[in-house]
């Protein structure tokens, strides 16, 4: 089988690797590069456990070929926390008991991040709709919804703090607001 040389930038680190044309992004991340945070629940784009961020969009990494991802910037759950500080979404999942076995959680959080980047204060219906492609078998979703709400509030508060620190200049990029397409 032919092989391809590709470059993936994962959580800010550039990796060169060689993959078969059919290698799925999720397998390249997990098996070749050791980013095992994204989980495989179905390999058929139905469960969302493998969701990662690719160039700013949440994608199911079991439906993207590694070669298609050549040259992209990928963010996985391993890249969510910064300087040992949990991302507000991680904090929300912990505080609201938004996970039990944790298998769906990395994908849930990456989808939630995508949602909150598009819509900073979603209501319950919008959150449930955004999570449409992510299955959880343990939590009944309620605490996941609460976790996303928690994160939205926290991020709002953080933005407000930033605004105050900047002397009142808003730093929200509203070009993204209102975009609704899911993945």
């Amino acid at each position: 089988m032919t092989e391809n040389d590709i470059t993936l930038t994962v959580n800010g680190t550039e990796h060169d690797l060689t993959v078969e044309p059919r290698t799925l992004l999720v397998h390249a991340l997990r098996d070749e590069l050791g980013y095992t945070g994204a989980n495989v629940g179905c390999e058929s784009s139905l469960c969302g456990a493998c969701t990662v961020d690719m160039d700013g969009d949440a994608v199911k990494s079991c439906t993207v070929l590694a070669v298609q991802a050549d040259g992209t910037e990928i963010e996985t759950v391993e890249g969510l926390a910064e300087d040992d500080e949990f991302h507000p979404i991680q904090e929300g999942f912990q505080k609201e008991h938004g996970l039990q076995c944790g298998y769906c959680t990395p994908g849930m959080m990456m989808t939630a991040k995508d949602l909150l980047e598009r819509n900073s204060s979603p209501d319950e219906g919008e959150i449930r709709e955004a999570l449409e492609g992510n299955l959880c078998r343990c939590t009944g979703y309620q605490n996941i919804v609460n976790a996303v709400e928690f994160a939205a509030d926290r991020m709002d508060a953080d933005t407000a703090e930033d605004v105050a620190a900047d002397g009142g200049t808003a730093t929200i990029d509203d070009s993204d607001v209102g975009r609704t397409e899911g993945q």
Partner: protein
């Protein structure tokens, strides 16, 4: 009601038990650091894939593996013959026997015949996962297809295709067992004398557990020491070690089974499947680590399915609506082979719960177990109890309707009264403690019942159909005691071990034989041990899921962990305190009886300034320079806790739905749950378990069903065709509780893991049928799809 979690350091030791402390499991899981079985990598690792029968029933004429073997990267291809040649036993044992149970042989690879779609036929081991999968296509199997049977009732008909041939029996039949419980004569008499009777024919459909993490195994055989190390998706590593030892012929003490992070189980990861034995066997042959990771489609085909009952139930009442008898006949599908605990599920775990929350003087239940050409059926969340309560709560709802009584009041009238405990039922169990009315009252309050009934009447005038459905459930948790289980056919004990080790530093490691997979044991067990020892929560570490570290164990299922596993840790902790008390008394130069122990401190009665902390005692216990006579150095204790009885959690759930009779659409308006699970170690975790359970119950009520066609082909073989509910399908749930401690264990806990799944299905079905009562609809089988609603309405309108 929703509560917030608190950080552990905000809680005083004396309050740690019962606090909603946030889970210590979470940091690893939310950063991607947790290690699930498939995360384990090793450059030496080979990959196994299983060739599975695509037919439900067929003779294997021949298997040609040569082309697959010749492929680049393929290391070996094995069939049943290869396993036989090595003299490996290779047959999965049945872990629960019933009188006159037929136990067919269940080889880990099918030899002459495949009996369900997914039955393993051959395995490939290759250098890479993709290559192993590719090679499966190059194995040429010639099959001669046979007729199949998938319906449990049809299967026991004489003319049905036979799933097994019984060499030791003259009778060729798919009947696995014929089991009964209760008093048939007394029940017949109750029906003869009844003023009113109702009956229902219902199906409790086949379900697929769908843990989000598919099953997986990594096995490494070490020829030097002849040790086999198995990392796997297990709810009960010790049990897997024991069963695997029997299948592989490797002594138990040479096998180590580890359950790393496990992505949900719901019963499906209790049982011993062929796959983990095959992975291990391949590693033994090849002397290198081998990994097998199921695909989602494999889990649909081969994870033990749940439920699969066809039931006729009847209820007898006197003229004022007091229940006088219940009669139940059930055909239970077992699938093609008997899975590990399968025989117990539709018998002792089902028939013994048919009294529900009610004082019923006479009950009789007969269950026929049937082999079919489907995947083996075994315990799935609730295991037997959801099936039982579904029958009871459907009958009680119909009973109320027959009597023209309010369904809540009908229940109240027939509840076991609060002063009636312990309560012995006619189906062989004794309820430990209960108080059913307060839970019902609270649930009525939560939905504002009276106003709701008024609104229901008003809406009906406008042609809108609101339905209110009750489910007053009971469950039996923490299967026990071992002696009784043994009498009933269990091939294992049902105790649990706990080891509490106080280190010289005063910090603690506690080991439990249970094995959590999302339940948060590391948090709750640390709360338990902290409370008993008075040592700060953060100084306590919990170890689970590794047979080399933990003395012995039985695992996590049947909501046994807190009640049995937690109690073992309490017992061990108490033994630690008693030993420490001896040492403290010696060092403080007083008699043991004069030593008080509170919040981690030993002090002399009446002289509180003469005291030492348990940490100081631990240090002295290891220094051992000055020990009381006859007391060994060190401070650790083990116990094997065997419970006296099951525990019986209960509660009332109410579903409120609106049904559109034209389109068949069902919309939730409210879902209220009041659960009494005894004392709560961590209420936030309890709430989470309730939520998850309800979601699975709603899944059964409205969406999920494993469907085979007449050839035994699984039609619902992917997430595309089997509806695992999504966030939009599950309503907001209001949860609350009452607390009636169990008198049978030192924690007073009852267990919560299965409550929601047992409670929810009939809450929803009762709500939908309540909504449709103006159309004369009495019953609709689950899953209640829009089409079924539409049909029920149209057929009954036609009929009326």
């Amino acid at each position: 009601m929703s509560m917030d979690t608190i950080e552990a350091d905000e809680v005083d030791v004396s309050d740690v038990l019962g606090s909603a402390i946030e889970r210590r499991e979470d940091p690893a899981l939310i950063t991607g650091e947790g290690t699930y079985t498939d995360d384990i990598q090793d450059p030496e690792m080979a990959h196994m894939a299983v060739l599975r029968s695509q037919y439900g029933h067929a003779e294997i004429e021949s298997i040609d593996t040569s082309e697959a073997e010749a492929m680049d990267g393929v290391i070996a291809v094995y069939t049943a013959e290869d396993i036989e040649e090595t003299g490996t036993p290779g047959d999965l044992p049945v872990g629960w026997l019933l009188p006159n149970l037929k136990t067919p042989s269940h080889p880990i690879l099918a030899k002459d015949r495949v009996r369900y779609q997914g039955d393993g036929v051959a395995v490939v081991v290759a250098e890479e996962r993709y290559v192993a999968q590719d090679a499966l296509d190059r194995i040429d199997v010639e099959y001669d297809r046979l007729d199949a049977v998938v319906d449990p009732k049809a299967a026991v008909d004489e003319s049905a295709p036979q799933v097994h041939e019984w060499e030791d029996s003259d009778v060729q039949s798919n009947q696995a067992f014929d089991w009964e419980i209760g008093d048939g004569d007394a029940t017949d008499e109750a029906f003869e004398n009844a003023a009113h009777t109702v009956s229902v024919d219902l199906e409790n459909q086949r379900l697929i557990p769908n843990a989000m993490e598919p099953r997986a195994t990594v096995a490494e055989y070490k020829p030097g020491t002849e040790e086999l190390e198995v990392f796997m998706t297990s709810q009960n590593p010790h049990l897997h070690r024991q069963l695997m030892s029997a299948v592989l012929g490797v002594p138990e003490h040479k096998i180590r089974v580890v359950a790393p992070e496990v992505g949900g189980g719901f019963g499906s990861k209790i049982h011993h499947y062929p796959d983990e034995a095959l992975t291990s066997w391949c590693s033994m042959q090849l002397k290198r680590p081998v990994k097998w990771q199921a695909t989602r489609s494999e889990t649909y085909l081969t994870d033990a399915h749940g439920r699969d009952h066809i039931t006729h139930g009847e209820l007898a009442m006197d003229e004022d609506g007091t229940i006088t008898g219940m009669r139940v006949k059930t055909y239970a599908g077992m699938g093609a082979y008997l899975s590990t605990f399968a025989p117990a599920v539709p018998t002792y775990l089902y028939g013994t719960l048919l009294s529900g929350q009610y004082d019923i003087p006479a009950i009789h239940c007969n269950v026929i177990g049937a082999f079919t050409n489907g995947a083996p059926v075994d315990a799935y969340r609730g295991a037997g109890r959801p099936e039982a309560i579904y029958v009871v709560e459907r009958l009680v709802t119909l009973g109320a309707r027959e009597m023209g009584m309010d369904p809540a009041e009908f229940r109240r009238q027939n509840f076991v009264p609060s002063d009636g405990f312990p309560h012995e039922t006619p189906v062989a169990v004794v309820y430990d403690s209960g108080d059913y009315e307060p839970a019902l009252d609270k649930a009525l309050e939560m939905v504002d019942y009276e106003a709701l009934r008024e609104r229901q009447a008003e809406l009906r005038e406008d042609g809108r159909y609101l339905g209110i459905g009750f489910s007053s459930y009971i469950e039996a948790c923490g299967l026990a005691p071992s002696e009784l289980a043994g009498q009933l056919g269990a091939q294992a004990g049902l105790w649990e071990s706990g080891l509490v080790r106080v280190h010289p530093t005063g910090k603690v490691t506690a080991f439990s034989g249970t094995s959590g997979h999302g339940q948060g044991h590391e948090t709750t067990y640390a709360q338990i041990v902290s409370d008993e020892l008075g040592i700060p929560y953060d100084d306590i570490e919990i170890v689970e899921g590794d047979t080399d570290e933990i003395p012995q164990g039985m695992g996590t299922y049947g909501s046994r962990s807190a009640a049995v596993g937690g109690s073992a840790l309490v017992t061990s902790s108490q033994k630690v305190v008693e030993k420490a008390r001896k040492i403290a008394a010696h060092l403080l130069e007083t008699g043991e009886e004069d030593i008080e122990f509170e919040n981690g401190e030993f002090s002399v009665t009446g002289a509180p300034e003469r005291s030492m902390t348990i940490q100081e005692v631990a240090q002295q216990a290891y220094l051992a320079h000055n020990m009381p006579e006859g007391v060994e150095p060190g401070l650790e204790e083990t116990s094997f806790y065997d419970p006296d009885n099951f525990t019986f959690p209960f509660g009332t759930h109410v579903a409120v739905v609106e049904v559109d009779p034209e389109s068949g659409e069902i919309e939730f308006e409210q879902y209220a749950a009041v659960d009494d699970v005894g004392n709560q170690i961590n209420p936030k975790i309890v709430e989470g378990q309730v939520h998850g359970g309800i979601a699975q119950g709603i899944g059964q009520a409205l969406y999920e069903q494993a469907v085979y066609d007449d050839n035994g082909t699984l039609v619902s073989g992917s997430m595309q065709d089997y509806a695992v509910p999504k966030a939009e399908h599950i309503p907001h749930m209001d949860t609350d509780d009452t607390v009636t401690p169990s008198p049978h264990n030192p924690l007073g806990v009852k267990g919560v893991g299965e409550a929601g799944t047992i409670a929810a299905p009939q809450a929803v079905v009762n709500a939908v049928t309540d909504a449709l009562s103006p159309f004369g609809v009495d019953h609709i089988d689950m899953p209640i799809t829009e089409e079924k609603v539409w049909r029920a309405v149209n057929e009954s309108e036609e009929g009326s």
